[in-house]
């Protein structure tokens, strides 16, 4: 029996404001518990919220980046429920009139492009944290995070596999960090995914969905969805019905389980927050934000293909993050002789491999773009072979230093004196009469062995093309 999977994602992105959405407390991560929870955040009697302009600005920026409709008048509502990490007994969120509606995101799944539609994105405040370490059988509440601005981005149920969901989440992560609305730090909870998952047989109406809460890595997102899909199919095939539910993913067991604290019927009693007035977005403000938007990843990908002749795959890889993309452009721009492909190969090859191995992102690269460009310039001017360049790269990565100084100090310069190379070839031919014999009797392999001997004798510093030419001439002669 065939099954279709239907997935929609709700992603909570913490916005990069300095202060909270409704108070002047700091949003910095990692402070002493409750030291960044001011009187508004802990909901002392009598306190009131005032909306942070920076949060609204970031929401507008996101809306523009995904081509969404911006509601020129949008409204904050109260979502009422009791929980110890929710000091007011309600969360200030947007319900009937969110700031952003619609829009879409193009994702790359294998070789396929797919457009995922967005339902909406709305501003809201984050809750505090419950610390379940044992305090004499009690739970500790830290409200530092309470009031941190969130933009909750809700997709349509347009994804049909865990891989698509992950591709969407990655594309969204890339976009929000690209435009700077979110720092994307998943360990710190800056980017958290909830996945709505259901299954159905082809042609049938949507199945009942279960919501997997708080997935804070792409790997968990994938594992959780795959588990959930298998579980739902098994349930139905065993004759059970799926009940709408909120579940948590346990990374240790790899399974999802029902949340105990959500047993209440969801009667959130939303109503417009009387402490906050409707928010009006001025056209001038929107246009100023639009003008300040950076070139977006998709536009860059198209440009890389058109201007640089890169493949769609390479263009997508190079625009994985804005920092990587900017790095690549800096390298390409600094090359004396334009060769974006050379720059692309090195950024995606040697550099990315080294970064991965060291678990660094591009911002942490010990080799700045200008240095890499200098190194590539030495390939272009014939000073270094690719192999020698990789050796120089290795030294720069581990020990630092300037390109030319390393070449000089380690004698890594490619031999350009043909007389010297000829002398070495003569010695190699004299020392390997058997190989010469074999070549002359038609064994091409023997030629490669001779080239290898010459390269070995020059300790890799000879130009391989030059060795080829000279060797061919000698053997023919």
């Amino acid at each position: 029996m065939q099954w279709e999977t239907v997935i929609g994602l709700e992603v909570h992105t913490q916005l990069t404001t300095k202060s909270k959405i409704f108070s002047g407390a700091s949003t910095a991560f990692g402070a002493e518990p409750n030291s960044q929870a001011c009187q508004v955040d802990i909901a002392l009697p009598g306190v009131l919220p005032v909306l942070n302009k920076g949060a609204v600005e970031r929401a507008i920026k996101f809306g523009l980046a995904v081509g969404a409709k911006l509601n020129r008048v949008n409204v904050f509502a109260r979502k009422n429920y009791f929980y110890p990490d929710l000091p007011k007994g309600y969360q200030i969120s947007q319900f009937e009139l969110p700031i952003v509606e619609g829009g879409s995101l193009t994702i790359q799944v294998g070789d396929q492009e797919k457009v995922v539609r967005l339902t909406r994105a709305h501003l809201e405040e984050d809750a505090g944290k419950s610390l379940h370490e044992d305090f004499h059988g009690m739970t500790g509440i830290d409200l530092n995070r309470a009031g941190t601005p969130l933009l909750e981005i809700v997709s349509e149920p347009d994804m049909c596999s865990a891989a698509e969901a992950v591709a969407y989440a990655k594309a969204l992560h890339s976009l929000v960090t690209w435009i700077g609305t979110c720092d994307g730090n998943m360990q710190e909870g800056s980017f958290r995914c909830d996945a709505n998952v259901s299954v159905r047989r082809p042609g049938e109406p949507l199945g009942t969905r279960r919501e997997i809460k708080n997935l804070n890595s792409f790997r968990f997102l994938e594992q959780a969805i795959n588990y959930e899909v298998r579980w739902q199919i098994e349930q139905i095939e065993d004759g059970h019905k799926i009940q709408q539910a909120t579940v948590l993913f346990d990374p240790d067991s790899g399974e999802t389980r029902m949340m105990r604290t959500k047993e209440d019927a969801h009667d959130y009693r939303y109503f417009p927050d009387p402490d906050l007035l409707p928010v009006k977005l001025d056209e001038d403000w929107i246009e100023a934000i639009r003008a300040g938007l950076p070139e977006l990843p998709q536009a860059r990908q198209l440009r890389y293909q058109a201007e640089f002749g890169l493949s769609a795959y390479d263009a997508a890889a190079l625009t994985g993050t804005r920092a990587l993309s900017d790095y690549f452009e800096a390298v390409a721009a600094a090359l004396a002789k334009a060769d974006p492909k050379l720059a692309a190969n090195w950024v995606m090859g040697e550099l990315s491999a080294a970064l991965n191995k060291a678990e660094l992102d591009i911002a942490g690269s010990p080799i700045p773009a200008a240095k890499l460009a200098t190194l590539l310039g030495r390939i272009q001017d014939g000073t270094l072979s690719g192999k020698l360049a990789r050796q120089v790269f290795e030294v720069m990565w581990t020990e630092g230093g300037e390109v030319d100084a390393i070449i000089e100090a380690r004698g890594l310069k490619q031999m350009s004196d043909s007389g010297e190379v000829e002398r070495i070839i003569d010695e190699v031919l004299a020392a390997n009469p058997k190989s010469v014999e074999e070549f002359r009797s038609g064994k091409d392999k023997a030629f490669n062995a001779l080239v290898g001997q010459v390269m070995k004798a020059t300790r890799g510093k000879a130009n391989p093309a030059q060795v080829n030419d000279l060797l061919k001439a000698k053997l023919a002669g």
Binding site: K18, G24, C38, L51, F76, P84, F135, G140, L277, V279
Partner: protein, 109 residues
């Protein structure tokens, strides 16, 4: 002025609350109501709902709901950190704290 989605369905208004209604509301509001209190609460709430019921008869088609006393828009605050750490003062009035945390009975998610 905010416009809301129009009513798309007829709402059934009960003539009076049942004891189960009272308990459901009380639980939503996190207020313990004993069985003895529930009956009295129900009678009082029904009296109040009778008072409120007169407004149901009014034709308000086309009238925009008024959520605020004045039709003005939200003022926006500059994104600046203006608050300092006052945890000690705030927790001086808290029922139970430890290591800077507010303590509550164990929460199992």
């Amino acid at each position: 002025m905010i416009t809301y989605k129009p009513l798309s369905y007829k709402v059934y208004i009960p003539m009076s609350l049942t004891l189960a209604d009272v308990q459901r509301i009380a639980h939503l509001a996190r207020i313990r109501v004993s069985e003895g209190e529930a009956e009295q609460t129900r009678n009082q709430l029904n009296g109040i709902f009778d008072l409120i019921a007169e407004m149901q008869a009014v034709d308000t088609a086309g009238i925009a709901p008024m959520a605020h006393a004045r039709d003005v828009f939200q003022r926006l605050r500059a994104d600046e950190v203006t608050e300092t750490d006052r945890r000690a003062a705030y927790q001086a009035v808290a029922p139970q704290t430890e290591a800077g945390l507010y303590l509550v009975p164990q929460v199992i998610e």
